[in-house]
């Protein structure tokens, strides 16, 4: 299977520099070749009946974080808001 590295990188929001491209393509091709050995199994995926989903308790969250604490790690903050490039013209 040949993979289109540029397309995959775009989907993953990654950019592979031109001088790195050949090396990356080769490595990715080797990895994909490695994982291609899986046999066909004529079964369907199903949820495990022995491990049923349970809902968590419906109660109020008591953790108290301040706005400042939660925003302290943001790269850019202005007037209590996260700053991002303009997305709407």
């Amino acid at each position: 299977m040949n993979i289109d590295i540029r397309h995959i990188a775009k989907l993953a929001r990654l950019r592979i520099e031109d001088d790195q491209f050949e090396k990356f393509e080769k490595e990715m091709q080797n990895i994909v070749d490695m994982v291609e050995n899986l046999p066909d199994i004529d079964e369907e995926l199903a949820l495990d009946e022995n491990d049923p989903m349970t809902l968590r308790e419906d109660c109020a969250v008591t953790d108290k974080y301040t706005r400042q604490e939660l925003m302290a790690n943001a790269p850019q903050v202005k007037a209590g808001c996260l700053v991002v490039p303009k997305t709407v013209e």
Binding site: A12, R15, V35, L38, E43, Y65, E69, A72, L82, P85
Partner: protein, 485 residues
């Protein structure tokens, strides 16, 4: 022997009897760090001041007559993908180099309640993706048994710190072998608990259906003690199992009588180094001589485990790591032109090559038109692998294999060949795929003096039986030579 060189069980008794104080122990560990850290590079962040402060607090509580947990005053290191409130949690990535979590992982709250002293945060492969700790953005960690060699990974800092006496105990995380493989390479004991036994809340996610936090220590006793403190149901983790857990430390039994050991022939093939194979079989024979029975078993889908693992883990990683976009936390590129350019530059500059490869593989196997050929097949194989293990545990109590096919390789030896690096996980990934508990216990050294790890695998939630088997083996084996640095 210096305090830093003693194991946790011993130190726990000494602290309880007030033969030593936690401040003395903490000072001893930091003196050792001052001596050896330059050669080992186990830590990303040291927290000396707070460590000494919490040690003094524990000593004061003990002096006041308070009944404390067995871990109170013991000095630990924490893998740097486990969230520690206010203390940098970098995942050894440029992406999170300045990130300080506003909350604690559940395991950190549990350790704080137990009175553990945290020395600092331990180096790892970037986002836990790697088998040598060489993909760390900061520095490679060295193996205390030979500093020209890797300590394994991804919890390489955790295993190396314990082996070097730079921490009495450590927490690691294991997605495909990341606790057991470095434990094997560094001559220490590492347990990957059953999926769901330890809360993953606050563990920075890599592959959520496989990730599990677990203990690393010098002995089985130490690991049992730490596992008892960290396991348990947690409402903050939807995958956490609702059940009661025993005190594994108190439950330890030294007895091989009646223990049924399975030897899966698929794990002893050509890829396994001859000396490693010999050490594993010697260990099994020692248990057999003392009352265990040994049986050859078959786990035929093992050949497909590595592929299934890399498909499932990378698919989940590509989704989990989508959150690193330079908006709410973490690195953001300096110059960009619009939102998409900011995302792409931030992620391209913030992630290292191995993380990029995994994200790309995951994106590929989940992309339109390829899902059935890769991800679906891998998930079907996961079911088959689990069923094979279930069948095997109908016949045997524990399964014995090498933890890793070889002993520790040289720094730089496999960095240009991702496939060779991935192959070091061949004996450990099946355990994560099936959600089972497994541990690595040192079973001797090869002719180069490098430790070999015996992997013991158990059925779901049979940690006590697994620890007992390892504890019994450890007694039969006798002491293990400490690393000379």
């Amino acid at each position: 022997m210096e305090l830093y060189g003693k194991n946790a069980a011993e130190l726990s008794a000494m602290l309880k009897n007030r033969e030593i104080s936690s401040v003395e122990l903490t000072e001893s560990v930091f003196r050792r760090i001052d001596e050896t850290e330059e050669k080992i590079n186990a830590y990303v962040t040291l927290d000396r001041e707070n460590a000494l402060k919490s040690a003094a607090e524990i000593d004061a509580r003990r002096a006041a007559g308070e009944e404390l947990s067995p871990l109170a005053g013991i000095v630990m290191g924490i893998k740097d993908n486990i969230s520690t409130k206010g203390l940098a949690t970098t995942c050894a990535s440029k992406m999170l180099a300045d990130y300080k979590p506003p909350f604690n992982a559940t395991v950190m709250d549990k350790l704080a309640a137990a009175g553990v002293v945290v020395a600092g945060k331990l180096n790892m492969d970037e986002f836990a993706m790697g088998s040598s700790t060489e993909t760390s953005y900061f520095k490679p960690t060295k193996n205390p048994y030979d500093t020209d060699r890797i300590p394994g990974g991804s919890s390489g800092g955790s295993a190396a710190a314990v082996a070097a006496g730079e921490a009495v105990l450590a927490l690691g995380s294991d997605t495909g072998g990341s606790i057991r493989q470095p434990a094997a390479y560094c001559g220490v004991v590492g347990l990957k608990p059953t999926y769901g036994a330890v809360s993953r809340f606050g563990l920075v996610a890599f592959a959520s259906s496989l990730d599990q936090i677990g203990p690393i220590g010098k002995t089985v006793e130490d690991v049992a003690m730490l596992q008892t403190a960290i396991c348990g149901h947690d409402r903050m983790d939807a995958t956490s199992a609702r059940r009661e857990y025993p005190d594994y430390f108190r439950g330890l039994e030294n007895n091989a009588q009646g223990l049924k050991i399975g030897i899966p022939k698929e794990y002893f093939g050509d890829g396994i180094d001859g000396e490693v194979k010999q050490k594993i079989m010697d260990a099994v024979k020692l248990l057999e001589k003392n009352g265990a029975s040994v049986k050859e078993i078959s786990l035929p889908s093992a050949d497909y485990a590595l592929s299934s693992y890399y498909i499932i883990s990378s698919a989940e990683a590509s989704s989990n790591l989508a959150r690193y976009d330079g908006v709410r936390y973490g690195y953001r590129a300096e110059n960009y032109d619009g939102l998409i350019d900011m995302y792409e530059k931030t992620r391209s500059e913030g992630f290292g090559d191995e993380v990029k490869r995994r994200i790309m593989l995951g994106t590929f196997v989940l992309s339109s038109g390829f899902f059935d050929a890769y991800y679906k097949k891998a998930k079907l194989l996961q079911r088959r692998i689990s069923a094979e293990f279930s069948d095997a545990f109908g016949e045997v109590d524990v399964i014995a294999t090498p933890t890793v096919p070889t002993t520790a390789f040289r720094i730089g030896e496999n960095t240009d060949d991702p496939l060779k690096m991935y192959a070091t996980d061949i004996c450990t990934v099946t355990v994560n795929i099936a959600g089972l508990p497994a541990l690595s216990v040192p079973c001797g050294c090869d002719s180069k003096g490098l430790p070999v790890g015996l992997q013991l695998i158990g059925g779901k939630f049979t940690e006590q039986r697994l620890l007992n088997a390892a504890y019994t083996y450890e007694h039969l084996r006798g002491g293990f030579p400490a690393a000379v640095i």
